[in-house]
């Protein structure tokens, strides 16, 4: 029965073709460092899911942001677990994506013909850091407020256009509800869209070009 259903869908969707292309590809002999990309993808998926769950209760206004998180932590059942996963997953994702970048660099996997994989990967790493930066403000506690005050002041040291960048990041001269709302927007819409699209390009090239093995002494 199950195989009959599978065959019905397979005939129409070409599932076995997807499986062969995506999972049954030819691979060089690799080690555990080559799992960091999959680990990053898993963490992104987890962050997306727990993030969606957090938006069920989180409210991005100065009046209620802190209170709504208190509610998630103490009122909503298992809210502490969902937020804990999102909190620790965020840190872990930054570490994992960074290590994935180091592996690619040290194993020289960025070279021809994989330059574009590397470039999209760099943007993915920067977007991940952007997620960390924008997400840090959302709890709207003292640490979040002052970290973002400092973080948005740093681009202000750029000659000529620096103060303008700070203004644009904050949506005004000082940190306010406007800053919270735009950081929230970037955190849940803009950067996830960028990351999702680039993961698509990144994975397409990984599948199309295959991955490079561990370089040998004479490489």
């Amino acid at each position: 029965m199950a195989s009959k259903v599978y065959n019905w869908f397979n005939e129409r969707l070409g599932l076995s073709g997807i499986y062969d292309t995506v999972l049954d590809r030819k691979m060089p002999k690799v080690n555990w460092f080559f799992t960091l990309g999959s680990a990053s993808l898993f963490l992104f998926t987890m962050q997306a899911l727990t993030g969606i769950f957090l938006t069920v209760y989180y409210v991005p206004t100065p009046d209620l942001a802190y209170d709504s998180i208190q509610y998630i932590m103490t009122g909503a059942p298992f809210g502490w677990l969902i937020r804990g996963m999102h909190h620790w997953g965020a840190t872990l994702m930054v570490i994992t994506v960074f290590l994935h970048m180091l592996r690619t660099f040290y194993f020289a996997a960025y070279k021809y013909p994989r330059e574009l994989t590397w470039v999209t990967g760099v943007v993915l790493l920067l977007s991940t850091l952007g997620m960390g930066f924008t997400g840090y403000l959302l709890p709207w506690n003292q640490k979040a407020y002052w970290a973002t005050t400092v973080g948005t002041a740093i681009p202000g040291t750029v000659p000529v256009i620096g103060p303008l960048i700070t203004q644009i990041l904050r949506g005004g001269a000082d940190l306010s509800g406007v800053t919270l709302a735009r950081f929230f927007s970037v955190h849940i819409w803009v950067l996830p869209a960028v990351i999702l699209a680039l993961i698509g390009v990144h994975l397409y090239m990984v599948i199309r070009l295959g991955i490079s093995g561990i370089p040998k002494k004479d490489d």
């Binding site: 069920v56 409210v59 709504s68 509610y71 298992f78 809210g79 677990l81 969902i82």
Partner: protein, 158 residues
Amino acid sequence: MTQSSNLTRRDFVNIVVGAVGTVIVVSVGVPAVAYVLGPGLKVSKSEAWIPVGKVESFPVGVPTLVTFTRTTVNGWERTTNSYGVYVTKPESGDIYVLSNVCTHLACRVTWKEDLAEYDCPCHEAVFDIEGLVVSGPPPKPLVRYATKIEEDTLYIQL
């Protein structure tokens, strides 16, 4: 490796992956469902007894208006509502407390001592001293609250 084993390496991996996967899905899925549904399934009930005043402070036979505010917490939101209740101590029988909210469209009724009735300003509803409808559109008598007296203080339950 023993030859007698029927379990292939591949089967073993499949079973272990399936078992671990099930544990993960259940241990994350159950909290996720509880998280979303939890607040919706909570039954809100107000069991609090609210003190409205000393029993001897209310005059006999004349409804007395008592106003107070109550703050309820719903999620992260605090809502403060103001309430008005009429306390009546009849010459014989138990003290009773009526809501001053008209049962028609929730306007506030007032006790008219000269007419001995509750009048609603909105649609000319009239209730008697016990809150029963005398005339006008209200479908029901005024709401009567549960009362209790402890140490000469009157408490009501909303």
